[in-house]
């Protein structure tokens, strides 16, 4: 696998693992944008990452940040800091590392699926959507230029079982937030309390253009559910999505709106694709070959 030459992709911070999964003194290898890297935990709170070449030699040292339960690094020169997610600092939240799932598709297909409400009734039937309540009501999308993030707000959808803590159906209110081309999160109101929300992150590690690891840290308002049942819930949802994600053609994301035809419910996807196009992203993007 060749390392990408796309500066736009190289200059992003990317999640590449869980600090809690490595014992002090330990380490692991993984791949980022086609580049193999090695991550070491040299002490309880100290991590290092290096590029690793075909002969197994460690090369350039990479910057590392530990945030939101994840290890972040970059192969380039990031033009912005990691996003601010204050919910992870709130003392009454359950901060949960929901594990990583490998998915064979473009990182952007994964982000789009996360932003999408219209599939709930079909892919997450009787959990996140009901077969007889499929309508996606109008919502707003925004490009917040000060932080260069895409937001979708005033979203709502009827859900039979919105989370592990749910005891019945509810109209769930959502806000979606794309913090970078490889990271996205959502806020959804908790069961029976419109004032508080769960914060669910999806940090996509692009291994290659059509191979990813999806890391899911959560900051939940849920004192009751067992950790394993929260993780099971998220992994069940993600397993249902994975069947879809690995069967979209092409796997790379088309940015040309004539290749895949959107409807109103796809406003967030439309905004996301425009944003990627404006950034001149090449990595993970489908280019129609000349006839």
């Amino acid at each position: 696998m060749a390392v990408t030459t796309d500066r736009a992709a190289l200059n992003e911070w990317v999640a590449c693992g869980w600090p809690e999964k490595i014992a002090p003194g330990g380490g692991y290898r993984t791949v980022l944008l086609g580049q193999e890297i090695e991550v070491h935990r040299i002490a309880a709170n100290s991590f290092e990452a290096f590029e690793r070449n075909d002969r197994g030699e460690l090369g350039r040292k990479l910057p590392v940040q530990i945030k939101y339960c994840c290890i972040f690094t970059t192969l380039g020169e990031p033009t912005r800091p990691l996003p601010k997610i204050p919910e992870f600092e709130e003392p009454d939240r359950r901060i949960t590392a929901c594990g990583s799932v490998g998915v064979h598709t473009s990182p952007f297909r994964i982000i789009e699926n996360f932003l999408d409400m219209a599939h709930f009734s079909f892919v997450h039937t009787d959990i996140l959507g009901a077969p007889e309540r499929t309508e996606v009501l109008a919502y707003k999308t925004e490009h917040r230029k000060d932080v260069d993030e895409i937001w979708a707000v005033d979203c709502q959808f009827y859900q039979p079982a919105a989370s592990k803590a749910s005891k019945g159906g509810q109209m769930t209110h959502y806000a979606y937030r794309v913090m970078s081309p490889f990271s996205v999160m959502l806020y959804k109101n908790v069961f029976d309390d419109p004032a508080r929300n769960d914060a669910i992150c999806l940090f996509v590690q692009p291994v290659g253009e059509t191979e990813c690891l999806a890391h899911m840290p959560l900051a939940l308002i849920d004192r009751e559910s067992a950790l394993t049942s929260i993780v099971d819930f998220q992994q069940t949802i993600f397993a249902q999505d994975r069947v879809i994600l690995e069967n979209q053609r092409p796997a790379l994301l088309p940015l040309d709106p004539t290749i895949e035809l959107p409807t109103r419910a796809d406003a967030s996807s439309i905004a996301f694709r425009r944003w990627l196009k404006a950034k001149n992203f090449q990595f993970g993007v489908y280019e129609k070959k000349a006839a």
Binding site: R249, E260, L261
Partner: protein, 226 residues
């Protein structure tokens, strides 16, 4: 991917495409969905929903429409999208249409032609009535090797004659039947054979089963060649 020549290619036996089902197949490297409403003929489409690229062979059939498994968009047999569940009151624009290939059922075989300007006529071996399905087999060899194997195989004393590109016909007086063999290029390394028969020798199930077993021997013989 291969070019798309102007010819009819057998992609399945009729009976394999159950009413109310959508099924995947590959022809010359192109992924297709072969689906049938609750009643009516089979349809052959590109295996891709025009909305977000999901394979339509994963779809489900309701009320005569093929529904995409991802967002439930409902397509009429002509390809037009007639229903978008996210906006139940919206009449979808006419521009939303699946990529439809010509399809015909004849002699118990579903045929399609992927050429962009199809003009070829369907294979013609006479009356459509009375054909019985034998079976489909898939051979892990390119189409040229499989054609060679079909031509040299002993079909109950008869010989296979290629009457069209990818369509072979056998007449065996000893076995008391005729066989029609549709040869489907799947990709560079795999080829499908869809076989139907007509005549006294194909009338009872036991006889047809013997021919199905014989097709497995043909497959094994072709795959045994290096």
């Amino acid at each position: 991917m291969a070019e798309r020549p102007d010819r009819w290619i057998g992609v399945a036996l009729d009976r394999q495409i159950k009413p109310g089902s959508s099924n995947p197949a590959i022809v010359g490297g192109y992924a297709i969905a072969v689906w049938r409403p609750e009643t009516g003929p089979a349809n052959v489409w590109e295996d891709r929903c025009p909305h977000r690229g999901m394979r339509l062979s994963f779809g489900f059939v309701r009320d005569g429409r093929l529904r995409c498994i991802y967002h439930g968009w409902g397509y009429e047999p002509g390809g037009h999208c007639a229903f978008i569940p996210a906006h139940p009151d919206l009449a979808p624009p006419k521009t939303i249409c699946a990529n439809v290939y010509p399809s015909e059922e004849r002699y118990g075989i579903v045929w399609t032609n992927l050429c962009e300007t199809p003009n070829a006529h369907l294979p013609d071996v006479g009356d459509d009535q009375g054909w019985q399905s034998i079976r489909s087999v898939y051979v892990k060899r390119p189409i040229a090797a499989v054609k060679g194997g079909v031509a040299s195989f002993d079909w109950g004393g008869g010989r296979a004659e290629e009457i069209e590109d990818g369509v072979a016909f056998v007449r065996s007086d000893t076995a008391g039947l005729s066989l029609l063999i549709a040869i489907q290029p799947v990709d560079e390394s795999k080829t499908g054979l869809h076989v139907v028969a007509k005549g006294d020798g194909a009338k009872d199930a036991k006889g047809r089963l013997a021919w199905a077993t014989r097709l497995e021997r043909l497959r094994d013989a072709i795959e045994a060649q290096s």
